[in-house]
């Protein structure tokens, strides 16, 4: 049983419950702008508040995949993961990196410019805190893709996004079991998150 709390109490709150999460997201949207400034949470901000094209949506997803890749491939090495947790971090990191590559290709193929990789800051220093944040981040990814899916105009890109979101959901469930969290945190129907909500939750992790 993992009892450690995340270093950042606001982030810890995200995963407490749906109700807390919702209220956090409202506060977080304000905090992201007030504390970090809209420029600091770029490139999320332009897409979160004005995405209309498929390229915008793909760039939004790319930012999230950069975040996940960095988390598993860089941050994971600093928190002392062992056993299955280390195994997952290694595998999942490679898969997130593949998502980055696929989205980058898709954006270029659609005539767009991929956003640059942001710099991230993850407020965790223990294996347990890392896994708690991994669970939060993967669930956020599921919500982000499920929210963005119906906005995609290209059915081919929708299929690609679906192929990725299914992997995020699998990651989330596997991590849930490691830390005694529910593998289906929203029950029978996964939540769709708006890009604003995703920005609010992930923005503080972007330097």
């Amino acid at each position: 049983m993992i009892t450690d709390r995340l270093a950042n109490p606001e982030l810890a709150e995200i995963e407490v419950s749906g109700v807390t999460r919702a209220s956090f997201l409202v506060r977080g949207a304000l905090a992201a702008g007030a504390v970090y400034g809209t420029a600091a949470v770029s490139p999320f901000v332009s897409t979160a508040f004005g995405a209309t094209t498929d390229i915008d949506i793909l760039n939004f997803a790319l930012t999230l995949e950069y975040l996940e890749t960095d988390f598993y491939q860089v941050k994971a090495k600093t928190v002392g993961l062992t056993g299955l947790a280390a195994h997952y971090a290694s595998n999942f990191g490679k898969e997130e990196a593949s998502h980055v590559a696929a989205l980058t290709s898709a954006i270029k193929a659609a005539g767009g410019t991929p956003v640059p990789k942001p710099t991230f800051s993850f407020p965790v220093s223990s294996a347990s805190a890392f896994l708690g944040l991994a669970y939060t981040v993967e669930n956020l990814g599921v919500g982000a893709y499920n929210g963005a899916g119906p906005l995609l105009k290209s059915k081919a890109l929708l299929g690609a996004a679906g192929s990725i979101v299914q992997i995020e959901a699998r990651h989330a469930a596997a991590i849930a079991l490691l830390i005694n969290k529910p593998p289906t945190p929203s029950g029978a129907f996964d939540e769709a998150k708006t890009m604003k909500q995703v920005l609010a939750a992930a923005g503080p992790l972007i330097k």
Partner: protein, 243 residues
């Protein structure tokens, strides 16, 4: 439970028993069909897949973000499920409803057999409840769209040992996830699509959970990108489970 999970996960490198899903994956139905359609059969990476996808965008609505869109048949032009399920979104929903009925009956039988206790027993009960909620939601949606809900099939499942049933559950959930993914591009209504997506990832969560209980199970059996399955492949796979 953690120890058990670890032991099983470490068997990931062991040779896989060929299950239905593994066969589907090896057949690589969706990708091969797709690549054949766009004439780039040599492309194997997902990057190439996406590139090809963009180049042959078959969106039924003009896309502002994929300017290079050659004329090609739209998905809507070819029904993605047998006509017996109905047309358009109703047909897709009835297809999904049929699969959800089978999943619900499967879990009901597993629960009745009392094969699992403790944490695993709780998960199985929860997953069964979630499949039943999918049935209710899809049934209601078909009615809302003015369609006639598909008849409930009678499932028949080999409920034997805890290990064998866990493996079957793993196969069934992976099949369900790939079935939803296979339909995503054919759904017309944004609301129906949103609902399908929200169910799709729950099936994936179930599959990943079960993967940790099955020797040789994989959380992500197809790597970084989940594979879709078309209705012909899925219906053939579930046929042995329909009485």
């Amino acid at each position: 439970m953690t120890t058990r999970l670890r032991e099983q996960e470490e068997e990931e490198t062991a040779p896989q028993t060929r299950g239905i899903v593994e066969q589907l994956v090896r057949d690589d139905v969706g990708r091969k069909k797709f690549l054949k359609a766009v004439g780039s059969a040599g492309a194997v990476s997902f990057g190439a897949f996406v590139l090809a996808a963009c180049g042959s965008s078959s969106s039924t609505t003009p896309s502002t973000s994929t300017p290079t869109t050659p004329a090609s048949p739209t998905p809507a032009a070819t029904p993605s499920v047998p006509a017996s399920f109905g047309a358009g979104d109703v047909g897709i929903l009835n297809y999904a409803l049929t699969l959800e009925y089978l999943e619900t009956q499967f879990y009901a039988k597993v629960i009745a057999a009392k094969l699992y206790t403790g944490a695993v027993g709780s998960l199985v009960a929860q997953f069964g409840s979630e499949e039943a909620q999918h049935v209710a939601a899809i049934h209601a949606t078909v009615l809302k769209l003015g369609g006639k809900p598909a008849a409930k099939p009678t499932g028949k499942f080999p409920i034997t040992t805890a290990a064998a049933v866990a493996k079957l559950a793993y196969v069934v959930e992976n099949l369900g996830a790939s079935a939803y993914l296979g339909q995503a591009g054919y759904i017309s209504s944004p609301d129906v699509l949103a609902a399908a997506l929200s169910i799709h990832t729950v099936e994936a969560r179930h599959a990943a959970t079960l993967a940790t209980l099955v020797p040789g199970g994989h959380v992500t059996p197809t790597g970084a990108f989940a594979k879709p399955a078309d209705s012909a492949a899925v219906l053939a796979a579930v046929k042995p489970f329909i009485a």
